[in-house]
C-alpha cells in the first residue's frame, strides 16, 4: 500500500481584507468589486515559497525522524531561485540526510499534484520508502487586477510512504493541455491573464469535468462513490455549475479556501487535500483535482490509520491563526511592488560569503549547535570549545539541533534605529528548554505581544537579502507562540 503517511500545512499569519485592497486601488478598476470579498493570506516580508514549504514540512514531520526521509519534491510557481535548487535549500533546513533525491517542480499550478504523483511512483518503485512533497506559492497580481485579490500565499506538505498509510493512492488521471490562461515568462514578475470568460468557458468548464470523468471512467466509479472532491478552481462562481453538471452534491465539495486564504497556486490542491484529511473517515474516497496546463486527478482512499493520526496544525489550524494586515501599502512594500527609501543605512549591507555559508551548513540552515559530552551543556552555534564557564572542554562536542526545541523570551527590545522592512526591529535572547541560549530576531509579533517569559518557536525565514548580488541568506527567527488570532 502506497499513500500519504503524514500531512502538514502553513498559512502566513497576515490576512489582507479584499475590501481593504478595493478601498486602496479599486478606483483604478472598479470591476474588481466583483472579487473583493473575504480576505487573502499575505506572506510576511521575510517569507517566501521556500520558507513556507519548510514551515509546512515541519508541521508534517512532527515526531518523524528526519533521517528517515529519502527525498523531497518541491513544487512552486514562485521559486526564489532559477539556478540553485530550491528543494535542496528546504532539505538542508529540514536537516535531511544528504544521500537523498530532490527536485523542483514548477511552471504550472498542477505542479503540486504532479510532484505528489511522482513521489508515489518513486516509493512504488521499491527502493525509497519515505518521500516528502511540499507545495508553496506566493504569486503576485498586478495592483488593480482581479488576480491581486484572488491570489493568496500558503504551503502544504505531504509525506508519502508505505508504513501506516492514512490515505492510499488508488488511482490517477492526468491531462496535459497547453491552455495559456495564465502565462509568465522568465524574468517577469506578474502572470498575464487572458479574458476571464474564455478561461471559464474553455478552461474550467471543459478541463475540470474532463479530469473528473476521465478518472471515474478509468476506475469504473460513480460520482456518488466520492466522499469529498477537492477541486482547485480559483473561481468560486464557476464551481457550483460544474458540480451540478457532474451530478455531485454540495456536501461533497471541499472548501476551495479562496475566501479565507486565496488561490495558493500549486499549493492549493494540496492545502485542500490536507483540509479534507483533517475531517476524513476510514473508507472515504477522496478525489483531488488540480487545474493548470490541463490538470491531475488523484483518487485516495482513507484507511483505519487515520483514527490514530493527529497533532498537526494543518490547514484548519492555520486558517484561524491570523492577524489583519490593515494596510495595502504594507503589502506593496513587503512584496517589493513600490520603490521605498531604505536610506543610506539600509543600503549599507554586508556581503554574504557563500563559501562561509556553505561551511557553516546546517548550523545556519537547521540551527545545529553542539552539546558538550563532558558537561552536557547545549550551546549554539556549533563550536569546539565548551561555553559552560565550569567546563571549557575542547573538541568534546556532539551535534545538537535547536530547530525543534521550545524556547522562552529572556529579554528583548524594539529597535527603531536599525534598518528593517517592518519597523521596529524586535529581537532578543531566547532561552531553550534543556539548555542553550540564542540571540535572535523575532518575527510575526508586535511590541505589545512580546514579554519576558513568552514561549516561542523558531521559524525559517529570509534573514538578510542582498538584492544586488542575488543572495538570499536564510536563517531562523523566533516567533512568539500565538494561541489565537490577534
Amino acid at each position: 500500500m502506497i499513500g500519504i503517511t503524514s500531512y502538514g500545512a502553513y498559512i502566513p499569519r497576515y490576512r489582507l481584507s479584499r475590501k481593504t485592497i478595493f478601498e486602496a486601488i479599486g478606483w483604478f478598476n472598479p470591476a474588481t468589486v466583483g472579487v473583493a470579498k473575504g480576505e487573502r493570506a499575505v506572506a510576511n516580508y521575510d517569507e517566501d515559497s521556500i520558507t513556507m514549504a519548510v514551515a509546512a514540512a515541519t508541521d508534517c514531520l512532527d515526531g518523524f525522524e528526519r533521517d528517515r526521509v529519502d527525498g523531497l519534491y518541491l513544487s512552486s510557481l514562485t521559486l526564489p531561485y532559477a539556478e540553485r535548487q530550491n528543494a535542496a535549500i528546504c532539505s538542508s533546513a529540514l536537516a535531511f540526510r544528504s544521500d537523498i533525491r530532490t527536485a523542483d517542480f514548477s511552471t504550472s499550478s498542477k505542479a503540486g499534484t504532479t510532484a505528489l504523483l511522482a513521489a508515489c511512483d518513486t516509493v512504488k518503485a521499491g527502493e525509497l520508502n519515505n518521500f516528502m512533497v511540499c507545495a508553496a506559492d506566493s504569486r503576485l497580481g498586478k495592483p488593480g487586477s482581479n488576480l491581486e485579490h484572488i491570489f493568496g500565499d500558503g504551503a502544504a506538505a505531504l509525506l508519502v510512504g508505505r508504513d501506516q498509510v492514512i490515505a492510499e493512492l488508488k488511482g490517477f488521471y492526468s491531462l496535459t493541455e497547453d491552455f495559456p490562461d495564465l502565462i509568465r515568462g522568465y524574468g517577469e514578475r506578474f502572470p498575464r491573464s487572458w479574458e476571464e470568460r474564455w478561461i471559464r468557458d474553455e478552461g474550467y468548464q471543459k478541463l475540470i469535468p474532463a479530469l473528473i470523468t476521465g478518472l471515474l471512467t478509468k476506475y469504473n466509479l460513480a460520482p456518488a462513490d466520492l466522499a469529498k472532491i477537492a477541486i482547485a478552481c480559483p473561481d468560486n462562481r464557476v464551481l457550483p455549475g460544474i458540480f451540478k453538471k457532474m451530478g455531485l452534491s454540495v456536501e461533497q465539495m471541499q472548501d476551495t479556501l479562496i475566501d479565507s486564504v486565496g488561490d495558493t497556486g500549486s499549493a492549493l490542491p494540496l492545502l485542500m487535500f490536507v483540509a479534507a484529511l483533517e475531517s476524513a473517515n476510514p473508507g472515504d474516497k477522496i478525489l483531488i483535482v488540480s487545474y493548470g496546463t490541463g490538470g491531475d486527478a488523484l483518487l485516495f482512499e482513507i484507511t483505519d490509520q487515520i483514527k490514530k493520526f493527529g497533532g498537526r496544525l494543518g490547514t484548519s489550524g492555520h486558517v484561524n491563526l491570523k492577524k489583519s494586515l490593515d494596510s495595502y501599502a504594507k503589502y506593496l512594500v513587503f512584496r517589493n511592488l513600490i520603490p521605498v527609501d531604505v536610506g543610506i543605512r539600509g543600503e549599507d549591507k554586508p556581503m554574504v560569503r557563500l563559501s562561509m555559508m556553505h561551511r557553516e551548513g546546517q548550523t545556519l540552515s537547521s540551527l545545529r549547535g553542539s552539546k558538550c559530552k563532558q558537561c552536557g551543556t547545549p550551546q549554539f552555534p556549533k563550536q569546539r570549545v565548551c561555553i559552560n564557564p565550569e567546563c571549557g572542554a575542547i573538541d568534546k562536542m556532539e551535534d545538537y539541533y535547536f530547530y525543534n526545541k521550545a524556547g522562552r523570551i529572556n529579554s528583548y527590545t524594539a529597535d527603531n534605529l536599525t534598518f528593517t522592512w517592518d519597523p521596529p526591529g524586535i529581537y532578543g535572547l531566547i532561552d531553550f528548554e534543556g539548555g542553550g541560549r540564542l540571540y535572535m530576531d523575532f518575527t510575526d509579533c508586535d511590541l505589545e505581544t512580546v514579554k519576558v517569559g513568552v514561549p516561542v518557536k523558531v521559524s525559517f525565514r529570509r534573514k538578510h537579502v542582498d538584492e544586488s548580488r542575488g543572495v538570499i541568506a536564510y536563517y531562523w527567527k523566533a516567533v512568539p507562540i500565538h494561541k489565537t488570532s490577534t
Binding site: 536610506g343 527590545t413 532561552d431 530576531d441
Partner: protein, 404 residues
C-alpha cells in the same frame, strides 16, 4: 607573579579636541589638534616620542587600517606606530599599549592617541554593526544596533527589580539629566543644553524602552596622552598623574550563549573592576574613588555600571542616583565633563577623553576653572565597554595624583 602597573607610569601631557559634528574637519585635523595640545602640555617635541599607539575603531569610515594614517598625519619619524581597536575600549587600549611600553623599558616617551571621524557615514547613529562583526555574525547576531542591545538590558533590569517601564525610565532620566547639566558647563562638549526629566521621558523611543535622551549621539573628536616611566615624571612637570591600574576584561560570550547570565549586570565590568581595585590597592571603592568617568553610551549602561563596578549595591543603584550620589556635588561625581552622553563618543577617542578629565581634575586644572571639583581629589576611575551585550570587552583604568 605579575604585580601590575601601579605607580610605574605617569601621564605628563594630554590634549583633547572639542567633540562634535565637524563637517569641516577631517580625522587628520582632529589628530593634529589633540596632539598639539598634548605635546605643549608635556613640554616636548614630536621627535621626543619614540613609540605611538593609535586607537581608531570604525576605520572603514575614516582613515583606514594600520598605523600608517597616524605616522603620516603627524610625520612621526620611523618610530613604531601600533594601530589598536577593541570596540569602545579602543582609546584605553591605546593607552595600555603606551603605558606598558614605558613600564617595560621599551620606550622612554610614548604617545597614545585616539581619534574617530564618524560623521562621514551619511546617516545618523553608528555605522551598521553588521559590517563590523564579521561574516558569520550576519547570521548569528540578530539585526541589532547599540541602543537595541542596551534596550534589552533595560527591559531585563526593570523586570528583575520590579520597576514599571515608567518608573524605570524615570531613574534613567535622572542619570541623563545629570550628564546634561555637566555638559552644559563644558565648552568642549558636543551637547551643551540642559534637559528636564519630562523632556527626557517624552522623547521619541529609539529602542524600547530607551528614548532619544537615553542615548549618546555620534561625534567626531580626538584625544591624546603622553606617558613616561613614573620615576622620570617629575623631570617634565611637578604635577604628573600616575597610572594605578589598567584592566581589560572580555567575556567568553557566555551572556549570549549560556543561560547563566541574568542580563542585568556586566560580568566583564564586575571582573575588571575587582582586578583594577586589587591592582591599585583599593579596598573600598565607594569610599576611595574621588571621581569616575563611566561608559554612558546609554543611561542604562551607566546605571548598571554603578553596580557592576561595586560602587552601588546590586539592584540598588537607583537609590544612589536619586540621592545625587553621582551628581557634580555628590560623593563620587560621575561624568563631570558631560560623559559620552554630552561630551560625545568618537569611539577611538573616548577612553582617552575620560582620562583627560580625570587628569585635569586631579591636577586642579579643569577648564574652565568653574568646572574644577572642590573636594579633595585623589583617585579617578575610567571605564569603557563595547562590543555586543553579553559578549563585551570592558576596560577599567585608575589614576592618582600621588605616587605611593
Amino acid at each position: 607573579m605579575a604585580i601590575g602597573i601601579k605607580d610605574k607610569v605617569a601621564i605628563i601631557g594630554m590634549g583633547c579636541t572639542r567633540f562634535g559634528e565637524f563637517w569641516d574637519k577631517s580625522e587628520s585635523d582632529l589628530i593634529v589638534d589633540a596632539f598639539k595640545e598634548a605635546i605643549e602640555d608635556a613640554g616636548i617635541e614630536t621627535k621626543d616620542i619614540d613609540a605611538a599607539w593609535f586607537g581608531s575603531c570604525f576605520d572603514e569610515v575614516n582613515v583606514g587600517k594600520g598605523g600608517i594614517p597616524l605616522a603620516r598625519t603627524l610625520k612621526l619619524p620611523n618610530i613604531p606606530v601600533t594601530r589598536v581597536e577593541n570596540f569602545c575600549t579602543t582609546g584605553t587600549e591605546a593607552l595600555r599599549g603606551a603605558c606598558y611600553a614605558v613600564a617595560s623599558g621599551a620606550s622612554d616617551i610614548a604617545l597614545a592617541i585616539g581619534a574617530e571621524k564618524l560623521k562621514d557615514t551619511g546617516y545618523g547613529g553608528l555605522p551598521s554593526l553588521a559590517n563590523a562583526t564579521g561574516s558569520e555574525n550576519i547570521f548569528y547576531y540578530p539585526n541589532l544596533s547599540a541602543p537595541g542591545m542596551f534596550g534589552m538590558i533595560a527591559c531585563a533590569y526593570f523586570q528583575k527589580y520590579g520597576l514599571s517601564p515608567e518608573a524605570g525610565k524615570r531613574v534613567l532620566a535622572r542619570i541623563s539629566q545629570k550628564s546634561h547639566k555637566n555638559g552644559a558647563l563644558n565648552p568642549r562638549a558636543h551637547l551643551r543644553k540642559e534637559v528636564s526629566i519630562e523632556q527626557i521621558m517624552n522623547a521619541p523611543i529609539i529602542a524600547w524602552p530607551l528614548g532619544l535622551f537615553d542615548c549618546c549621539g555620534v561625534s567626531d573628536g580626538a584625544a591624546a596622552a603622553i606617558v613616561v616611566p613614573a620615576e622620570k615624571a617629575k623631570d617634565f612637570r611637578p604635577d604628573p598623574v600616575y597610572v594605578k591600574a589598567l584592566q581589560l576584561s572580555l567575556t567568553p560570550a557566555t551572556g549570549i550563549g549560556h543561560q547563566s547570565w541574568d542580563g542585568v549586570h556586566l560580568e566583564e565590568t564586575r571582573i575588571a573592576g575587582i582586578k583594577a581595585y586589587k591592582e591599585a590597592g583599593i579596598e573600598n571603592p565607594r569610599e576611595e574613588i574621588s571621581l569616575m568617568e563611566v561608559h554612558d553610551c546609554f543611561s542604562i549602561s551607566e546605571l548598571i555600571t554603578y553596580e557592576s563596578l561595586h560602587i552601588s549595591p546590586i539592584g540598588k543603584a537607583r537609590i544612589d542616583v536619586e540621592d545625587g550620589f553621582f551628581d557634580l556635588d555628590g560623593k563620587i561625581p560621575c561624568q563631570s565633563d558631560g560623559g559620552l552622553k554630552c561630551f560625545g563618543h568618537p569611539i577611538g577617542a573616548s577612553g582617552i577623553r575620560m582620562a583627560y578629565e580625570i587628569y585635569k581634575q586631579l591636577q586642579g586644572r579643569a577648564e574652565p576653572k568653574e568646572r574644577q571639583l572642590k573636594s579633595n581629589l585623589n583617585l579617578g576611575l575610567t571605564h569603557n565597554h563595547g562590543g555586543i551585550c553579553g559578549s563585551l570587552v570592558c576596560s577599567v583604568a585608575i589614576f592618582g595624583n600621588e605616587r605611593k
